[in-house]
Amino acid sequence: MLSLATLIRPEIPMRFDIARKAVAAGLGLALLVGCGSSGGQEPEGPTELSFWAWAPNIEKVVDRWNAAHPDRKVVMSKQAQGDDLVTKLLTSAKAGSGPDLAQVEFQALPTLVSNDVLADIAAHASSVKGEFPDGVWQQVTLGGDGVYAIPQDSGPMMFYYRTDLFEQYGLTVPKTWDEYARTARTLRTKAPDKFLGTFSSNDPGWFAGLAQQAGGSWWSVDGDTWKVSIDDAATKKVASYWSGLVAEGAVDKTPMYTPEWNKALNDGTQIGWVSAVWAPGVLAGNAQSTVGKWAMAPLPQWDAASPRTGNWGGSTTAVTAGSKKQKAAAEFAIWLNTDPEAVAALVTDSGVYPAATKAQTGSALAKPPAFFPAQTDFYATAQRVASTAAGFTWGPNVNVAYTAYKNAFGAAITGGTDLAPALAEMQRATIDDLRASGFKVG
């Protein structure tokens, strides 16, 4: 399908100046946007809130709210996930016909804030700061005083492997990336048709998570000047590591989420997956025949002495700047992501891994995922891993960087060339786009 992002460039907003200031505001200066339409004149009587989201079965959780709040009914509308929804939010905000609430991924927040799409709900939401880990909360404030969304779920990265096949080939679970490489090679010699994992040139979020773990910092802002360092030393290290493994054939290069890859998970061609906490749900859908054969371990480390992980995925509930019912909408967003009953329902019905700290050890996560019946300490381990997640600052043009990743890394993988130039290309494309959109770039 034709990518919508190429049709409407979200980072060519109507007013560059305001866009720039808005991000600067979010990142430490003053509050310039978002508060415009909130305030005292909100309707008091019964009202309806529209909500765009994609999490499966989230309508069931919304039904609970509606049962308890008949005068503030939330009307759900299921949307397709990802960049396309961001584009749609940008367009609808411009036309003034957007929803009151939307599910937004963490990395899309700066884009939406800099385009004046999201409301600053600090007045209503600052009190729930303590419910979330600092690193997560920082991502919804963009490091400033504003609050642009309530965190919903996070995706700390982990390593998944087939216990039966590991045993069959006498492999041990790799604790460091060196061990991972060695294990991958050993497997290739023992079973030449199998792979420990794959390098996915189709999943920039996956690569971003690995870069976070290594200590990469892709965007940063100083005053109103952006700095882009996608090709920093840490990310270069990650790229050259995978580049080497792919070149020697130690890992596969089939992109994830393709039918081919699904098949490989099913028939045991792929015996491991570098993924995130939500993997059990995906495996249950893609590799049903392997139920009970998987286990989860912390991600292999660069430095085993100080374990870290990155985040792949994770989303928030945001209130739009165009909404005339921001207070009511913010109340719903807070309820959805902090109320114990609501979060428990999110966990059981939608299968999300909650961002709220308390919920991570709550009763809804006491039992392991149905796909991993044997690993009884699944969520205890997950919680421990989640607490080591590195913080990260997203920039206002993550979509551009992600598209550049798919193009450049895709071409490098197909052409069998080194990944370092691809990373440089990603850096160049991202900086060029920021400049072209009128941001100050340092």
């Binding site: 049709l7 509308s77 957007g98 929803p99």
Partner: protein
């Protein structure tokens, strides 16, 4: 005299046929597989759970799929009907009446044929929301009604199929213009209008971008958009492959049925002239 079949052309045609039919065959076979079988069994070995899949599809979110199908039928049916009517009317007027600016209008329409609808979708969205119609049934219907290509086709068809003499004779006999249009021109143009209806129906039924941009409320989605939300639920949740595949299969059935029933009108089109000798 029968010409011997060339080996090369036959091969090329067979290859083309395989290229077109294999994906259809894949959908047919894949629709019968359960989600466990989909990626685990070999590609063209049939699965066992077509009925269970249809059942799952029907019960997905309380029958959302059938609602999307009904929406598609509404958008495509009403849109194509109005489009055929409008195209017929405009095409007839352009073909049979000489008036100032006719060529200008026609040339503008021709230019419209050259502009891909993809390019227009976003400006249309901004215009539609300006008048407060975004996220309504009308927001998808209205842009679908006007089809430059349909008007172009109707004009060509009217010019060829409705002879000047017949129209003149009717005028001499004292028939009004409305009567002439309705009783004489429309029956003669019928095959052309059916053609316009058919291709507009297919175009609207398969349209993705316009409803994607116009609609926010998933209860107004056409089936293309609904299937897309099933597939694209993000990295963190498994795509509902089985449902989307069986849904795609079901969603093309109305198009096939429509083609089979309306095909004969199409054939008439080629055989019959306006004035039977």
């Amino acid at each position: 005299m029968r010409r011997a079949l060339g080996t090369l052309p036959t091969l090329v045609l067979l290859l083309g046929a395989a290229y077109c039919l294999l994906p259809v065959a894949w959908v047919l076979v894949a629709a019968t597989k359960s989600s466990g079988e989909l990626f685990a069994t070999s590609t063209f070995s049939p699965g066992t759970s077509i009925l269970a899949n249809l059942d799952d599809l029907s019960s997905y979110r309380d029958g959302a799929f059938w609602r999307w199908m009904a929406n598609s039928a509404l958008y495509a049916g009403v849109g194509a009907l109005l489009s055929a009517a409008l195209s017929g009317l405009t095409g007839y007027a352009l073909a049979k009446f000489a008036f100032r600016g006719r060529d200008l209008v026609f040339n503008a329409l021709i230019a419209g044929v050259l502009v891909p609808s993809v390019v227009l979708a976003i400006p249309q969205y901004l215009l539609i929301s300006e008048v407060g119609l975004a996220d309504t049934y009308l927001s998808v219907l209205v842009p679908s009604v006007l089809s430059p290509y349909g008007i172009y086709l109707a004009r060509i068809y009217a010019a060829a199929a409705v002879p000047e003499d017949v129209v003149e004779a009717a005028r001499t006999d004292g028939a009004g213009e409305g009567r002439i249009l309705w009783s004489i021109a429309v029956p003669m143009m019928a095959p052309g209008l059916v053609t316009v209806f058919l291709f507009q129906f297919v175009a609207i039924w398969n349209n993705f971008l316009l409803p994607f941009i116009m609609l926010g409320d998933d209860r107004k989605f056409p089936v293309t958009l609904g299937l897309y939300t099933m597939l694209n639920q993000g990295n963190t949740t498994p795509a509902l492959y089985t449902l989307a595949i069986v849904g795609s299969l079901v969603s093309v059935l109305p198009l096939i049925a429509l083609f089979l029933t309306l095909q004969r009108y199409w054939r008439v089109d080629l055989l019959s002239g306006a004035v039977k000798a």
